[in-house]
């Protein structure tokens, strides 16, 4: 199939929910990059404007997701141990759902750190650069983050559709589909792209107004 045909298959099948082997093949083609690349950027713009329009979401969306995923994960494991000690049995999904919640927590936490700019880096040389040099470095980082998001949105969308097509069920459950968890990943990276866009606009504004561009980030500080 041509790239256009693949792109058309991806879009129509995803919108209609009619996923079959042919659609999975289309997702694996190069056409997927041409769908999910622009989609990530459009999504980033949309997410950024939603955050601007609803500041509560800007402050709380990612942190709520990670907090709930963390608490549910810890609770399932803790209750599982108590069940085993007290009742001598344990629900079978108590070891299969927590890793999926960990996956969600890890990547939404990653997005949260993009917002706070607390990802580990060696910033000693950068801080000694001129404002122009610092601005160039920051914009380059933002570009790298955006490409990172595009790559991961595309590849995890392929994993999602594959999991959907396989009717993969979470082990230990009767009807909890794995793709319900996996689909949060492309969404997470679109949200992360929104954060990257927000950071880029903030950097531009700071550069124009002569504000400091690099601030000391404290891990566990501004949360």
């Amino acid at each position: 199939m041509s790239i256009w045909a693949d792109m058309s298959t991806i879009v129509t099948a995803t919108l209609s929910g009619d996923i079959n082997f042919k659609v999975v093949q289309a997702y694996r083609s190069d056409g997927a990059w041409f769908v999910f690349g622009p989609l990530t950027i459009i999504g980033a713009v949309l997410v950024h404007f939603i955050y601007k329009a609803v500041p509560w979401l800007d402050r709380n969306l990612e942190r709520s997701i990670v907090v709930y995923a963390y608490i549910i994960m810890a609770t399932i494991i803790f209750v599982g141990v108590i069940q085993r000690f007290v009742f001598s049995n344990q629900v079978p999904w108590s070891t299969t759902i927590p890793p999926l919640l960990f996956m969600i927590m890890a990547w939404y936490g990653c997005s949260f750190n993009v917002k706070l700019r607390t990802h580990l880096s060696f910033s000693e040389f950068r801080t000694s650069l001129s404002p122009k040099g610092q601005f160039a470095c920051l914009m380059f980082d933002n570009t790298l983050w955006m490409i990172f998001c595009i790559i991961v949105v595309t590849t995890t969308s392929r994993v999602t559709v594959n999991t959907y097509d396989n009717f993969a069920i979470v082990l230990g459950t009767d009807n909890v589909m794995r793709w319900w968890f996996i689909v949060t990943m492309p969404l997470c990276f679109i949200m992360m792209a929104g954060r990257v866009l927000g950071n880029a606009l903030e950097d531009i504004a700071n550069f124009r107004s002569g504000q400091p561009l690099i601030k000391q980030a404290v891990i566990g500080g501004d949360v």
């Binding site: 994960m73 108590i82 070891t95 890793p99 936490g109 566990g220």
Partner: protein, 451 residues
């Protein structure tokens, strides 16, 4: 151009980006992407592996849970009680507060499993006290940074979990093997404190008081209980490390929630000095409210959100290195050194150099699968090598230019990164001495293992 040339160019380019301050996560990711293009590999593996690492790994779950445990015991006030106990025991010595800081790191590490949590908690708690007590602020901050290294050697430990997960070794055994080396690291760093403080005449000496030691030991009983719970559970096989982490999280939450109203009910005054506090008040810690839990969890989530993605991309990097034949190349180089000790010391040198430029988790994920089989081939016990490797990786937390604990200590104390280095190098020397000792005396790692 050959593939090798391209990969060299990519490696140099990402090294340049690293020096210019690009986040480590992006550095590793783009190295993987670049190599994937050169080797004509699909990027789908990268995307899939970034999910699979988490969703297929129950053992790895212990990592976020032990990070959360650290934050819970800090917020509930247990960590403060442990540091009070350490100070009561060591305050009569020259440099006692600094030694107490190291001791508190060791005790905190025995409940939490994170180096950065240990540094951040003890650093933010004891740095102001040390500066008030006449210690140089650079020394105080360096003490917090160095003390944090035991956070991942004294069990439970995040990095032992990752190592066991990767190398298919029983994490419980790794934990046991880490106890003596961790204690030795604490003792070695305390000796540095003593020497440096004696030379500089820092700190005030307090009288030794058995009553105070007993009182603070009573105050720290919840901390000792948590340490005992973790070690008992893992040692007897009652629960896996992940479950032990879940249990300590549950313990931390229950203690925090029960203590808060109890503390109010008993009308305990937190501002009173320990000597004036009634003994009954020492049984209860400050605790926290139900509504405080999200703010505690979000701090842990932030640290997990930094470390967990690094694990994911490092796993993919390791796969690419494997495809590139790194194991054979490095293996050839290391084994050409000769027998047991030359191979061991070459491997240690590689871990040390890698620790200077990379975060310890990527170092472990990338180097362990390459070096462990080589060490095994010359007769190094796998558990012994794991401990040697991980003590080396923990030293990487205070080796410049990239020492995570130095950054964390700088962040929580406000002492600039480069100013920390003057005193952190003294701790570094003592830790290297312990490292060599652990390498040369296998019994230090293996004697606690069940026969």
């Amino acid at each position: 151009m050959s593939d090798g040339t391209w990969i060299t160019i990519i490696s140099l380019a990402v090294t340049f980006l690293f020096m210019m301050g690009t986040p480590v996560l992006l550095i590793i990711f783009y190295w993987v992407v670049g190599c994937s293009f050169v080797l004509d590999l699909t990027l789908d593996n990268t995307g899939a592996e970034m999910l699979n690492v988490f969703k297929d790994g129950f053992a790895l779950l212990a990592m976020p849970l032990f990070i959360l445990t650290g934050d819970l015991i800090n917020r509930s006030g247990i960590a403060k009680r442990l540091s009070d106990y350490a100070y009561a025991c060591l305050g009569w010595l020259r440099g006692g507060l600094a030694m107490a800081s190291i001791g508190a790191c060791g005790l905190f590490a025995a409940i939490s499993g994170s180096n950065s949590a240990t540094t951040a908690t003890i650093g933010s708690m004891l740095h102001p006290e040390m500066v008030k007590g006449g210690y140089d602020e650079r020394f105080s901050a360096a003490t917090a940074a160095a003390g944090g290294t035991v956070g991942i050697i004294i069990p439970p430990s995040i990095i032992f979990i990752v190592y066991g997960f990767l190398m298919n070794l029983e994490v419980g055994q790794l934990f046991l093997a880490g106890i003596i080396p961790g204690v030795l690291m604490v003792i070695a760093m305390m000796m540095v404190c003593f020497v440096v403080c004696t030379i500089n005449k820092w700190g005030f000496l307090t009288d030794i008081s058995i009553g105070r030691i007993v009182k603070t030991a009573i105050g720290a009983w919840l901390g000792f209980f948590a340490i005992g719970l973790v070690l008992w559970g893992i040692y007897t096989g009652k629960f896996s490390p992940t479950e032990a982490a879940g249990v300590t999280v549950g313990f931390g939450i229950i203690v925090g929630l029960v203590s808060y109203p109890l503390n109010k009910l008993m009308k305990n005054d937190p501002t009173l000095p320990i000597d004036e506090k009634p003994v009954s008040s020492m049984f209860v810690v400050d605790g926290f409210k139900l509504f405080d839990i999200p703010s505690i969890v979000v701090r842990s989530a932030q640290i997990t959100g930094i470390l967990a993605p690094l694990i994911a991309v490092s796993v993919v990097m390791q796969q690419i290195l494997s495809l590139l034949g790194a194991q054979e190349t490095i293996g050839g180089l290391v084994t050409s050194m000769g027998g047991y000790y030359p191979v061991l010391f070459t491997a240690m040198a590689m871990v040390f150099v890698a620790g200077m430029i990379l975060e310890s988790l990527p170092v472990t994920i990338i180097m362990a699968p390459i070096l462990a089989p080589i060490a095994a081939s010359v007769g190094v016990d796998p558990i012994h090598f794991a401990v040697i490797f991980l003590v080396g990786a923990s030293i990487g937390f205070i080796t410049p230019p990239y020492g995570l604990n130095l950054y964390v200590a700088s962040g929580v104390t406000g002492v600039p990164y480069f100013r920390l280095l003057r005193y952190s190098t003294m701790y570094l020397a003592s830790l290297i001495a312990v490292w060599l000792l652990v390498a040369m005396v296998p019994a230090l790692a293996l004697s606690l293992l069940p026969s």
